[in-house]
Amino acid sequence: MLLTLAIFLPLLGMAVVLLLPSANKNLIRWTATAFAAAAFIPIIVLSKGYGGGEGDSAEKTLLAQRDAVVAAAPAAARETIKSLLKEPKKLTKQLEAWSDHEHAPASALSDELKPLAQVAAADAYPALHEAWELTLAAESVLAKDLRYVEYGQWIPAFNIHYFLGTDGLSMPLIFLTGLLWVLCFVYSYSIEEGVKGYFALFLLLETGLLGVFSALDFFLFYVFWEIVLLPMYFLIGYWGGPNRLYAAIKFFIYTLVGSVLMLVAMLALYWKDGMDSFNLLTLTSVSGGFDMHFQMWIFLALFMGFAIKVPVFPFHTWLPDAHVQAPTAVSVVLAGVLLKMGGYGFYRFSYTLAPDAGVSQAMVLMIGILGLINIVYGALCAMAQKDFKSLVAYSSVSHMGFVLLGMAAMTTEGMQGSVLQMFNHGVSSAMMFLLVGVLYERAHHRDLDRFGGIGLQMPYYTGFAIIGFFASLGLPGLNGFISEALVFMGSFNSSEFFAGNSTVYALPRWIVYLALPGVVFTAGYILWTVQRVYMGTAKKEEYKTFKDLNWREVFSLTPLAAMCIIFGVWPALILDYMNATLDHLRAFVVSGGGI
């Protein structure tokens, strides 16, 4: 129930906020913050519990559910179902015939299913199907690590379930979401216009994101995925900068194109071999058996959906626009969490549903090269920006390249570095956007060339800025370094080998060599920025009147700065969290889906 609680508390909060009088802005702010904080409580409990190995494993929950389903099946069919479930994968092949004959005479059933004819196949079908789904789901690689699973019927007609759970891949992102919302809400007290709508939409956004990170039913995932779009559109479009309308619709349409392709892939999977299942775990446990051709298409369709979110070159151009126009807190969550939806999607869906395609030569090359382009090209573009915020936006493009690079390598180090990079980038880029926002609120412009001498006027703020920017630069001792180092090490390490029935292709080393200069460019633009903004003497008289951080800003920045340092010094804190999940996932992918 904890996950449900975390997901729907913000929704409840939205309802409450909508009912409050618009005039009482402070009441709205505090209420919204209270709900965000309330949603963070179950998340903390979950994180703690997950780290401590608490919570029922998915396997256990799913099998218990399976037994309940079997027990509820028509009495005459139970034994047959039980015996059939001993070989659930074998059953998979027969499902197509059966789903065609769902309402057809029992004589159409295959030999193995014939016994069910005695109890009228149509009656036994739902139970058998559900039990089959659950058995396979419990057998899947993901079930090993998922905990706090919630499973229930939602749309029986399409075998859609309310299926949530969390593991080492999603837990850090859920935590980050919960945290960022509290911080952003406190930061957003300076929003004066349309307060009610702002906080209501923001709460809705949280529901969507938490849902995305915990949904294990593809359909449910998709619904949450789309829910994220809308509030974002309005948040950018209403509270954004001068060119907000363009940015908002660009964001919306771009993402929609991607998600529509994802939808088609989802449906293709649903119909594959008559499985009629949206259950991610079920699909994962049979995905290794899909033929390569099919996997490729699935992978590519999903890739488009996720790549746009990441964003991968050349689908990244919505990002600078959206960031530059969005209000600060929106940029924070956009960079901090929304981009991670893409990376998360790759690991959660692409690689589990099309494992062979993921390690095929074409995909490894494609993802690797795109990652390289992201890293270098993003850094170069960042260097040329005059607008502080678009510089940070392009730095996101560059940093997310590491996620891709590690992903393409699919080695232990590469993959875990890549996932860690998502988290780290979530922390450091969120911090950078907050920092830009702080400055913008005082200077009312973001032109890098017009700043200078801020370090003298706002020393406290500059201290935070140094931590944030250096974390982003990948300075050892701060969090960004570990993930980048792991990604590089992992991509060097990548080598070709045969596993199961497929070849795992290596990421060519030249890609890594070419990516390394990105590190230098990153240092270049970060240091140049630090110099232009914080060093030197104040370029304008008014800068001398700038007040240092107020308590709200300190409140928002402190946890992020602390995380930059803590996870930089002690990465095991978070790596231990993710290790088992990612290790199993990697083993699954490189073994061709465990087949």
């Binding site: 789903s99 065609d100 004959h101 769902e102 057809a104 159409a108 939602w154 749309i155 029986p156 007609a157 399409f158 859609i160 998709y222 619904v223 789309e226 829910i227 779009l229 809308l230 559109y233 309005f234 479009g237 209403y238 907000r244 309308l245 908002a248 619709i249 919306f252 349409i253 929609l256 194109v257 529509v260 392709l261 939808l263 088609v264 449906l267 293709a268 649903y270 119909w271």
Partner: protein, 512 residues
């Protein structure tokens, strides 16, 4: 022969018993006209109430037909029964659908500015008459009745479109509608005469049988069927017979536009699906004219319908992009929606003859969703237009502040039309895509997806205006009735998006 005759008599008497809803509607038309003529100073509200009671009564009498099945008003020919109308769940659904649309648009019409303080009996009578025509369309198993139903519904629609005599656009729309409609009607009539000539019957069952037994000149039949298709496409407002749509939608009084865009389209689909069912029975191995081999390069019904679907959605969406008149935009949007719906029909046509095929659930489900979202959108447009005279997209600026609930309702409906979760439009479109993908019409599904993205531009144009543009004008008052109607229309959109499982079962049960 004698046997046939007695059975025919039997059919007629049974038919009359089963024809009560239509008779109620006919009586209602008369009552409304008479009330309008003879009661001095009759208020719109009065005739609206009469119409409401009549429609509810018709609905009540229609209800038992849910269980009934069989053809009525037929005769026996050669031992087989050839009815004119059929009473089955499919027909019931569409009849009830049209009835509900008529009911829902009544309060809208009351609110419409152009209608205020006018004698409305005539208008109400026309709506009921159109509904009556659609009843016939939904139940027709005979091409002639199908044609008659179309004509009946069209005639009433022409008049209703031009109802506001002072409105130039309305009159013009009416005229165009008439001309276009007569062409369509003529085309269709020509086609069905050819079919009659070739098969010797206008009854679907008989035609299908005849085709199986004798075969026919492929090319001739193809030509004839295409011409008939033209007539149906006109009613569905689908490519290539959609040209009338924007003019008429723009010109007609908004409540009637709402009615047209929902009921008329539904009836068009109902009659078309039955026709398709007859022409792709798939029961015999050698139904030659439009081969049931679905997806090869050969020309066949599934391919034809898929092409029409693709073109409808694309043309509709593209044309809608640059529209600044809201009604016109919604008109093009409804052309696009017809395209999505046609996907389901294409799959249905393809699936005929396969054991798992013939599932009309997605189509019905989408219509349920379409009923709420399209009517909801038109409702808000009507209310706002009558309060502020808004016609153009810019007139909706700042509506989010001026009429928050109306704006919210319209947003939900537009999102649903766009197909974003968690709305009925999404789950409906999901099923349409699902059937397409399942039947290997992936290209069509992808095209529909891309179209969805395109359509976001214009749906969001309106949303953007409502929320992201400022307008200094003050609040818009909307009234309780309108609010209630809005809630009744919008809430189901969300319910259909979140808890649609029962509706899937329900929609599946309305096939035939």
């Amino acid at each position: 022969m004698g046997n046939d005759f007695s059975q025919t008599q039997d059919l007629i008497s049974r038919g009359l018993a089963g024809f009560i809803p239509e008779l109620v509607l006919s009586a209602l038309v008369c009552v409304l006209l008479l009330a309008d003529l003879f009661i001095r100073g009759v208020k719109p509200r009065t005739t609206a109430w009469i119409a409401t009671i009549g429609l509810v009564l018709a609905g009540a009498t229609l209800w038992p037909r849910l269980a009934a099945s069989g053809e009525i008003f037929g005769w026996m020919q050669g031992g087989t029964q050839q009815g004119l109308l059929v009473t089955d769940r499919f027909a019931w659904f569409f009849q009830m659908f049209c009835l509900a649309t008529a009911l829902a648009t009544l309060p809208m019409a009351l609110d419409h500015a152009a209608f205020r303080a006018r004698r409305m009996g005539e208008y109400h009578a026309l709506v009921v008459a159109a509904t009556l025509g659609m009843f016939m369309m939904a139940g027709a198993v005979n091409l002639l009745i199908a044609w008659l139903g179309i004509e009946f519904a069209s005639m009433a629609s022409y008049l209703a479109t031009a109802f506001d005599k002072r409105d130039r656009r309305g009159s013009e729309g009416g005229i165009k509608y008439v001309i276009y409609g007569s062409v369509a009607s003529g085309v269709m009539l020509y086609g069905l005469s050819l079919i009659y000539g070739m098969t010797g019957s206008l009854h679907y069952g008989a035609i299908a049988q005849q085709l199986q037994v004798s075969g026919a000149s492929d090319l001739g039949l193809m030509t004839a069927a295409l011409l008939v298709f033209g007539g149906f496409a006109y009613k569905m407002a689908a490519f290539p017979m959609h040209f009338w749509c924007p003019d008429v939608y723009e010109g007609a009084p908004t409540p009637f536009t709402a009615y047209l865009s929902v009921a008329s389209k539904a009836a068009g689909f109902a009659v078309f699906v039955r026709f398709i069912a007859a022409f792709t029975t798939g029961e015999g191995p050698s139904f030659v004219a439009f081969g049931s081999v679905p997806f090869d390069a050969s020309f066949g019904w599934p391919t034809l319908i898929a092409a029409a679907a693709a073109l409808s959605m694309t043309v509709g969406n593209l044309a809608a992009l640059w529209q600044t008149n809201v009604k016109r935009m919604l008109a093009w949007s409804s052309v696009a929606q017809a395209g999505y719906l046609l996907m389901a029909v294409a799959v249905y046509a393809a699936g005929r003859g396969r054991p798992s095929g013939g599932d009309l659930g997605p189509l019905i489900f989408y219509f349920i969703a379409y009923f709420f979202m399209n009517l909801g959108a038109f409702h808000v447009v009507t209310v706002i237009a009558s309060r502020t005279g808004a016609q153009h997209v810019e007139d909706f600026n700042g509506l989010g502040r001026r009429a928050p609930w109306m704006a919210f309702g319209l947003t939900v409906c537009l999102l649903s039309l766009l197909g974003v979760p968690p709305t009925g439009g999404f789950t409906g479109k999901l099923q349409l895509l699902q059937t397409a993908v399942e039947n290997h019409l992936v290209w069509l599904a992808v095209l529909a997806g891309i179209n969805t993205a395109i359509s976001a531009f214009y749906y969001f144009k309106l949303i953007r205006c409502m929320y992201l543009h400022e307008n200094q004008a003050g609040l818009v008052t909307t009234g309780t009735t309108n609010a209630v109607l809005l809630a009744l229309l919008v809430l189901p959109v969300l319910v259909l998006g979140l808890a649609f499982s029962p509706f899937i079962e329900l929609s599946r049960s309305f096939g035939f």
